[in-house]
Amino acid sequence: MQHPLPRRGLLAGLAALPPLAALSACQVQGGADEANASFPTRAVDFWVPFDAGGSGDLISRAVAKAAEEPLGESLPVTNKPGANGAVGLKELLAGKADGYTICLAVKSLFAIGPLVVDDPDAVTIDQLRIITTLTNEGYVLVVHADSPYQTLEDLLAATHVNYGTTGVGTGSQLSAGLLFGIAGVEATDVPFDGGGPTVTALLGKDIDAASLSLAETMPHIQAGDMRALCVFSEERSVYLNEVPTALEKDLNILVDQRRFIVVPADTPDDVVGVLTLAFEDAREGGEYGQFLQDNYMERWEVDGIEAQLHLAEATEQFAAQIAESGVELGTAE
């Protein structure tokens, strides 16, 4: 892959460096600046702690492709799936904090995970440093097009609802669980193994409703096979403008999935700076933008500190809401 393009990218990367190197000189006392000032000198491994083919994998590949030029090096993507990303992140933390390995992470692992499984060794957000934030994906509550429930009110007036979720500890389970819990509807959750099987079960009318991501449902909503009843974002989705938010219906539920890229917390500042700049450039790319649009994802572009704050607040907010509504997620023992 040693084509003219990356080389031109390298120049662009170097041009962006001087102010940054000056910045780092103030922060890192007596560090071997020379070695870091030339970061990166080789390919940067981009780990995706999820299976190939899923949303996380797709975003990573799209953004990695866009970041190659500004970074000036290739970003080969490697899938390290397991435990909603925990396996890959733990391996990241066990390795060198030199910026040559970066990893995708998701909000649900930090904000919902601890509420479901009590794991003393769980990866926490303090162990990581967010180099860039990427997307915000909303959840939408859908029913089958033939379903008798035309509106959210119809559904919440039902005597009993079987709702599918994409698994334990997912935003899908949390959002739907909170909805029925707060509204006081007698409901049974049926966890499936991911989005695909949940969509199949809804289309096959095995379940009455499900909260799924926009990417999973939009093609079916557009084909007229599913009906959206509400979204769980703060404001209406740009892709589903006619569908109300749960907030509008006086149900205080805010659940979304957010994705971002991390390195171990003790990675040198200047290295993080180079990576951050490269990904800021990458997010501007037209193809990446088109990809987000094609997949019904919204941008989440804030700085690392704000992102870290958001994750911490979300955990507390979810814990409070779960306690308030009396919803049970899995068997947190």
Binding site: R42, D45, P76, T331, E333
Partner: protein, 165 residues
């Protein structure tokens, strides 16, 4: 036709020695013990009920099946059948190979795949397959090089490796 007869004769000569009575009973005892341990662990998982199954119910059922079939094996097979195979001195080679592989796997992410692969190939060829020193050395390097070319250069598999072109 003569071919098949020869084969049959050879196969008979190769037939490994059947295991003894102790081993036949062990064939039933192992599932019983395994099932017992699994059942004990399942009880720690919250069994629930048939209509509201907890995480431990299904493992408990399966563990029960395992124990039952183990008892069945002891009752039926130990007396009438001789379908086990005696352990021989060769068992040591099997354990050595497994141990070597475990070391190989542990080194993989630390020093890359090249050096451990050469060492594993060499040790296996020389000590387990009893090839000559020279043959073992040449093959060990050749196979590692071929694997490098195929997986890393050809198929672009992200294996940990130290040699970069």
């Amino acid at each position: 036709m003569a071919d098949t007869e020869l084969e049959a004769a050879q196969e008979e000569a190769d037939e490994p020695r059947a295991g003894g009575r102790v081993q036949s009973i062990a064939a039933g005892a192992v599932p019983v013990v395994l099932g017992g341990v699994a059942a004990w662990l399942s009880f720690g998982l919250n069994i629930g009920s048939l209509t509201e199954p907890g995480p431990g119910l299904w493992p408990l059922i399966v563990a029960g099946l395992l124990v039952a079939s183990g008892i069945g094996i002891i009752a039926v097979t130990a007396r009438s059948r001789r379908d086990t195979e005696a352990f021989t001195r060769g068992t040591i080679a099997v354990l050595a190979a497994a141990g070597g592989l475990a070391v190989y796997a542990s080194l993989y992410e630390i020093v890359g795949f090249e050096v451990p692969t050469v060492l594993l190939m060499f040790a296996w060829l020389r000590f387990l397959s009893r090839e000559s020193w020279l043959m073992s050395a040449i093959l060990a390097v050749a196979v590692t090089a071929a694997a490098y070319a195929l997986f890393i250069i050809g198929l672009n598999v992200p294996l940990p490796h130290v040699i970069v072109f």
